[in-house]
Symmetry: C2
Subunit: 503 residues, 2 copies
Amino acid sequence: MPKRDLTSEVQRGLGPREGKVSEKKNYHMSMDEFRHYGRSVVDWIADYYEKIESFPVLSRVEPGQIRDLLPSEPPINGDSFESILKDVDDIIVQGLTHWQSPNFFAYFPANSSGPAILGELLAAGLGVQGMLWSTSPACTELETHVLDWLVDMLGLPEKFTSKTAGGGVIQDSASSAALCALLAARERATNHDTNAHGCDGRLVAYASSQTHSSIEKAVKIAGLGARNLRIIDVDDTFAMSSDALARQITEDRQAGRLPCFVCATAGTTSSNALDPLPEIGRICREEGIWLHVDGAMSGTAALCPEYRYIHDGMELADSYCFNPHKWMFTNFDCDCFYVADRKVLIQTLSILPEYLRNKATDQGAVFDYRDWHVPLGRRFRALKLWFVLRYYGVNGLQHHIRRHVELAQRFAGWVKRSEDFELMAPAPLNLICFRHKNGDSFNQNLLDTLNQSGTLFLTHTILNDKFVLRICIGQTNTGERHVLQAWKTIVETAEGLTKTGST
Amino acid sequence: MPKRDLTSEVQRGLGPREGKVSEKKNYHMSMDEFRHYGRSVVDWIADYYEKIESFPVLSRVEPGQIRDLLPSEPPINGDSFESILKDVDDIIVQGLTHWQSPNFFAYFPANSSGPAILGELLAAGLGVQGMLWSTSPACTELETHVLDWLVDMLGLPEKFTSKTAGGGVIQDSASSAALCALLAARERATNHDTNAHGCDGRLVAYASSQTHSSIEKAVKIAGLGARNLRIIDVDDTFAMSSDALARQITEDRQAGRLPCFVCATAGTTSSNALDPLPEIGRICREEGIWLHVDGAMSGTAALCPEYRYIHDGMELADSYCFNPHKWMFTNFDCDCFYVADRKVLIQTLSILPEYLRNKATDQGAVFDYRDWHVPLGRRFRALKLWFVLRYYGVNGLQHHIRRHVELAQRFAGWVKRSEDFELMAPAPLNLICFRHKNGDSFNQNLLDTLNQSGTLFLTHTILNDKFVLRICIGQTNTGERHVLQAWKTIVETAEGLTKTGST
């Protein structure tokens, strides 16, 4: 094949838009430039954290406002790194909702930390793929190792470690973990026939009315159909009724259905309810149903022995996940997903084309994590988790989790002692569900007013058909000052709305 | 609720293992420390790239070797950042396969660049969630915007832009994109009944024998079953036979099945074969079947007008993906996934629990990207892609893609002119499939010897039942010197093996 004549191609109109191949030999950022701009970005981030409380927590932009500031045409010629970083300030920052602000109390925390950010930086710099053990052995082995550590640190059952028939893997999110758990459950229940022949319409899964929406999504994706997800009633603490679960399973069996999967939650998203794992686990064992436990945010609390009760009954679970990217100072994405029987999971998700075959895999001596989740490629996410565990140590992590729970409990105490506000759900850990006694529209108005103020960001839920405010305390830098100020702002804003006759 | 007495709890044995809550008030890395250690990591990465050619490309560790160097117990007390970074050098680096080495020619490139790494760093520092528009509007809008830019830059059909009924989203990988495409196809074919009631066993999907393994994985996950994936024959260029596809569809219709999904490939993983999109697209249109086109690596070539022919027929596709994290200097993960009809995709994957409701979503004025893929949470991945597009510009990207193709074509020329080696597949772009004429075991031996040498890393495939070597040229810093040296090493190693009588 002759050497291509690019100059001639450009002359024939095949070249870049500007009409000429640039004379520049290399458009890459040199390592000297990388050292320089790397420092700029590190400093930018430090500056950002130092002034983060000066931004409105919830972005105030309108739909389309950011896009209007961006050129409609892609850049033909490269820009300087300085100009790009300037546009971050001038265009992007106003469109951010500041999840790392200590005044962010919405949804769940997605906290981060210095060691995590630098672990992510290093992973990006190394740019290795961990799809197979052989594609970067350290990527797989460090992941297996720190996930084993976490079994120990959280007091989880030994069966979830790689030393047994189980093991852990990092997923991007609890949604993906739940999907993988459901798929493994589906295959175990049908002896891997569904993977071969497809769903046959008999499979049924179970969750409570308070279970995270990702379970409904997973049931749809996996081909079971949303109508085959049974929504089990909850008790007055918003925890799944194990009696109702048992009744529904019996009913389904009698109708010739095949119950395959139950998702129980250790700390629901809506109100932090704790499903009764021992009772649910006993039912699942008796019925041969896969029990997945979702401890996405609250699982981290088990770092502290005094909160480990939230996992009581876990020895009866087939799989479990929690998210260091929520409340353990590890930037998203980092969901730790454990199975008690890794063979079922691997057999469910394994595909081995010729171009991925290698000796280590053929000999069965290693984990190939692409068989543990949906994607093939994978980043070196264990690095940031390792950095966090090493930098904080068990003591450091326990200290901060205890501090967050203590602050949340103080907030709950203020609500209880208030004449205007009431607690709307048990608050075992760091999430408080409360509302003003003035009713739904007042609370919606209060929420909107608070969030528009920019001084804090809360979100809401519906409990017993009532509009309820949620305050979730778990951001890295949230301290006493921020929680005190939040309560003061809430009380004063409610008083202001009451005075102006708002409803 | 009374204020918790943590000191008393510790005294009652509920505290951390060391027996006492540390006196330390704060275990976090301060911003001054972050500035300092951030520079250390930036410099570490620059140093790594400067010496990357001194490492064996393929890691030489044995299974378990890295874990043996890690303490079996998790750290109780935090370590200094210096000691963690030292362990990266002492423990981790030997267990890396150096994907960013210019001598990495295996699998596919997973190239990166300074602007991408710094974009990832900034995204980690900001730590925002882009699950909803409202959770960080800039995260959604920048993503929509740069994906629109890329439609323009690659010369893709206008229907994939957000200005029409379509739009693009960043997925973690082409595997996940294919799954989402299949799910949308499944729902379109069944009028969203499968999401409600589950798979009914009639659905059939189509791919070629050369299509990426992720399609089989997706078909299993989505509940269709692997037996309902029809593997269509390929022609002598390893491209899907559209005649065979048409015949199989007719046969399935006659058997009462419901064909719903075809995956065609613009550049197969195994040999870079180009499926005939115009013919396949015409069949899919006539049959009302969803056509997904996978351009994972090769799609990037369409940045250059002279290679855009690989996408001829794309106007007939329902969805398309390519991976800037393969060959466009953007570190993993960054797959750009486009649909022509976003409503179908959104209706397929949308779940809206109360705690995620907000005005912008209710008004339908915005994209909420969590409805475009499996996970709920999402990082600000658009940032690194924007950094790359801005820093290189169209001209810079075109320059480097052309250079890679030119180097690959020169390599192909050397193979063609060699008496000992032969080309085993057409080589339209940057992947060359070749082998020594001495047969399978010689080539396996040659591959093992080359990879054990540490000076380069190649992988293999099987084509027409023959063991074939693959050399894929697309690493950021791969230049003429590396490709010349690779060919020289391959030739000399083969000569050495021939002389020693190896077969």
